[in-house]
Symmetry: C2
Subunit: 348 residues, 2 copies
Amino acid sequence: MYTESIVLTEKNKLKIVDQTLLPGQLKYIKINGLEDSIEAIKKLKIRGAPAIGVMAAYTLYIIANNLKSFSRNRFFEELKFAGIELKNSRPTAVNLEWAIERINQVISDNPNKIQSDIAKLLRKEALEIHSEDRDSCHQIGINGLEIVPEKANIVTHCNTGSLATGGWGTALGIIYAAAEKNISLHVYVNETRPLGQGARLTFWELNQAGIPCTLIADSMAASLMAESKINLVLFGADRIAKNGDVANKIGSYNLAVAANYHKIPCYSAAPVSTFDFDMNCGSDIPIEKREPDEILDIYNYKKGNSDLDVYNPAFDITPAELLSGIITEKGIIKQPLKINISKLINHN
Amino acid sequence: MYTESIVLTEKNKLKIVDQTLLPGQLKYIKINGLEDSIEAIKKLKIRGAPAIGVMAAYTLYIIANNLKSFSRNRFFEELKFAGIELKNSRPTAVNLEWAIERINQVISDNPNKIQSDIAKLLRKEALEIHSEDRDSCHQIGINGLEIVPEKANIVTHCNTGSLATGGWGTALGIIYAAAEKNISLHVYVNETRPLGQGARLTFWELNQAGIPCTLIADSMAASLMAESKINLVLFGADRIAKNGDVANKIGSYNLAVAANYHKIPCYSAAPVSTFDFDMNCGSDIPIEKREPDEILDIYNYKKGNSDLDVYNPAFDITPAELLSGIITEKGIIKQPLKINISKLINHN
């Protein structure tokens, strides 16, 4: 039903879908090491918090495998360096940090193993991270069915599907799960300026899957809500603070405000790995600022015109109070989020 | 301080700025008759409700002037036909209808005049419509000063400046007036998807005028509001119903909802000619639907792919209750809009 965005081949080669080529072309590219991986993340050949976490884990295995016949010093140093570089490549998505820490844990738990054995352990751990993410996505989809109305008319933002995760997706996973149950649904896809992940990826994924969908500009969702054409808002999360504030693709907050005004339920869907208990609230979460040209590019201004002031944050913060709940693989966290987050996540 | 978008030359030739070439090139093109005029409107070489009203009036003069040596029958028939075609070229902007009706009134008031004299009268009327629009814009700017805070941080949508009107603009006219008074201000410009009138035109106009401004994607305004970086929302209007509901560029409603949530004043600015008392409320106003390719074009889908469902209304309705007021050349209409609209417009 969906396209695998990250594949470790039988010969232990890492391949990912180059998402910058979609929807024109579905092409897998090889990730041979750190440089390829960082470039893929920075140029958004791969994006989506869970997906970059999975790919980072595989990248560390690939590096370990490439270096297994090198000296122990070089082996560990390069792995350490790679972990830091990968972490810094996208500061907002916490799953990246989390996946790298799991890999680092395997390394520090096995100080006496030889390099080739460590490489094997990292392969196992990366496959496990991937497999867990696939399972989490599946369970998020199933758990989310509870909040999908009959005759669902859903607005979604950015891409939270198979291209954003190691499985069928988070918010989009719920839509896939609902489609599998033959629930009547229609999805309005926010194009998601400036980079068009909604238009290029989600709209493509849903059309591939045969799920009825309509592409809209981001500013149109509110007027569809005013016309009573929407009964659910679903998006993902790049990082969730302890109090339930959600950092997600820029425009999510705008959508949550519109949903609130029109009294439409609004949910974020994400695996538990997206929670960051070091962040007390949304304002603690670092927000990546990106290049002006991502917005300017389509408008016929001279390239690199530094006289033009353009504001281009990649994410925004939706405060907990605007969410009806957060859908995780462990269940739906309902209001009051702050209390229920600590209950669900600490007791499971 | 601003660029004249519509010019009748000394030799009675009509020239307009081709706005589709901005910001790359500031180029005037000639409008020789009906066909050029309709094409300019449909392809958005000229847009903005007041500007297309002014241009339509000039177009009818140009047609009359071209046909003044033809038979009376042909002269009147072609003018009648042209009026209907022009009216239908953009169904939402009421100023177009209004300007054409003023020209038609001159024709029907002078049944016994010869064609060349009628052409002269139409020239006079078109110049008057233009001059009145210039004065209206100026007065809207002056009237609007009342609601511009010290240290104004304004979000605006679409283009409501000299490119959209016969003068310095409506919402943007207020910004020009504030800049003339040396009020400290910063303008956040919504790019205004899908056609980018904010990015291509407003951002260009403001940079030309040396007014501090920042370009943002439409979905970013809400998060700027959450960060207390905005204290005023200003946009124009394409048609205003009797009860104060405002039809304006798609995305205006989204902005008004966000302003409401953040308790930020939100005003529409428009000349009195924008009111349509035949419309009891916003839902009576016809909303133009435009081609899917306007949204799809930047996303590398195959052209003319009719399997893809895209929703692309050119306008939305902001209900009166979301507006702090409507700024006109006759004064600021405050809440309750419905009552105050009829007071201001009937008693002046």
